[in-house]
């Protein structure tokens, strides 16, 4: 999915390290993640945060991902990407506890 010609397989240690970084980041960014989710819940009253986040998300995806891929196109489509973004944010927000690393790892391996 990324704009890269090198197809490297991720190693187990790298996978673990990425999960640890993700959990630490989501713990640190929990108030922001929560606000984005809350903004989506009542778009009529507070839509600015959700729109800003969605625009930045699309910007980053089109900048760094292979836009010709069908899966990436789905991520860029604002009508279709809501579910993916909400579920990703929810997953991150549920993995901020001390056992968050194990929780996120299990979720990723089980999905």
């Amino acid at each position: 999915m990324r704009k890269s010609y090198v197809n490297n397989n991720i190693k187990v240690k790298e996978f673990d390290a990425l999960i640890k970084i993700t959990v630490e980041m989501s713990r640190y960014l929990y108030p922001y993640i929560r606000e984005i989710l809350r903004s989506k819940e009542d778009l009529e009253e507070n839509s600015v945060i959700w729109k800003d986040f969605n625009n930045r998300f699309i910007e980053l995806i089109s900048e760094r991902f292979n836009v010709d891929s069908i899966r990436v196109k789905k991520l860029l489509n604002q009508a279709e990407n809501d579910e993916i973004i909400i579920k990703s944010l929810l997953t991150l927000s549920l993995c901020i506890s001390n056992q968050g690393y194990q929780k996120l790892k299990n979720l990723l391996l089980d999905s």
Binding site: L37, L94, Q99, K103, L109
Partner: protein, 195 residues
């Protein structure tokens, strides 16, 4: 005198009231015998109950959130609590009273409150000061262990090349047996030069 412990996460707080188990030589601060718990969600009615209700309610939230994340049908139903997704952002919670003639309590919470509630439960589960039984095991081992498969592949790729090399060396060197037979050679030499 009962001990009281509170766990907070943004708009949700969970209060646990109980006593330590002195027969187990526990500290005064510990709570092992829970007598009451209260779950406060801002702008929603207070949820409280007995210890028998806390475990099933926590399990319901954990199971429901797992179903939600794993793209399965987000629906949990039990005698005590029902949780159902109204849409992507809203969840309906129906808390049924164990007492007769009491109407069930219906709550509608969003994803932000759902994650706050589960994070409060996580804090309770991880707290060394509270001992709680029968909670959902979040560390259940997933069935699909792709990385173990990867490890197997790596194991084979590490051992197979030298194994094939040794086998081919044995096969290649065994073919030389047909070219050189030392016993026959000695016999021939004896025939040429008989002593």
């Amino acid at each position: 005198m009962q001990n009281k412990l509170s766990f907070h996460q943004s708009s949700v707080s969970l209060e646990i009231i109980g006593l330590p188990d002195y027969s187990n030589n526990e500290n005064k601060d510990q709570i092992s015998i829970i007598s009451q718990w209260k779950l406060t969600i801002i702008d929603k009615p207070l949820i409280e109950g007995k210890i028998e209700h806390l475990g099933p309610i926590m399990n319901a939230f954990y199971i429901y959130s797992n179903l939600l994340i794993k793209n399965k049908i987000p629906l949990y139903e039990s005698k005590l609590i029902d949780i159902k997704a109204e849409n992507l952002n809203l969840h309906n919670i129906v808390l049924k009273s164990s007492k007769p003639n009491i109407k069930p309590l219906i709550l509608k919470i969003g994803n932000s409150l759902l994650s706050d509630t589960i994070n409060c439960f996580d804090q309770l589960n991880e707290s060394p000061k509270v001992r709680i039984k029968n909670t959902y095991d979040i560390n259940n081992i997933p069935k699909n262990l792709r990385f173990e498969l990867n490890n197997k592949v790596r194991f084979f790729s590490f051992f197979m090349p030298p194994f094939i090399a040794i086998c081919s060396l044995i096969l290649f060197s065994s073919s030389f047996i047909y070219f050189y037979n030392p016993v026959e050679n000695i016999e021939k030499k004896e025939l040429i030069n008989p002593k």
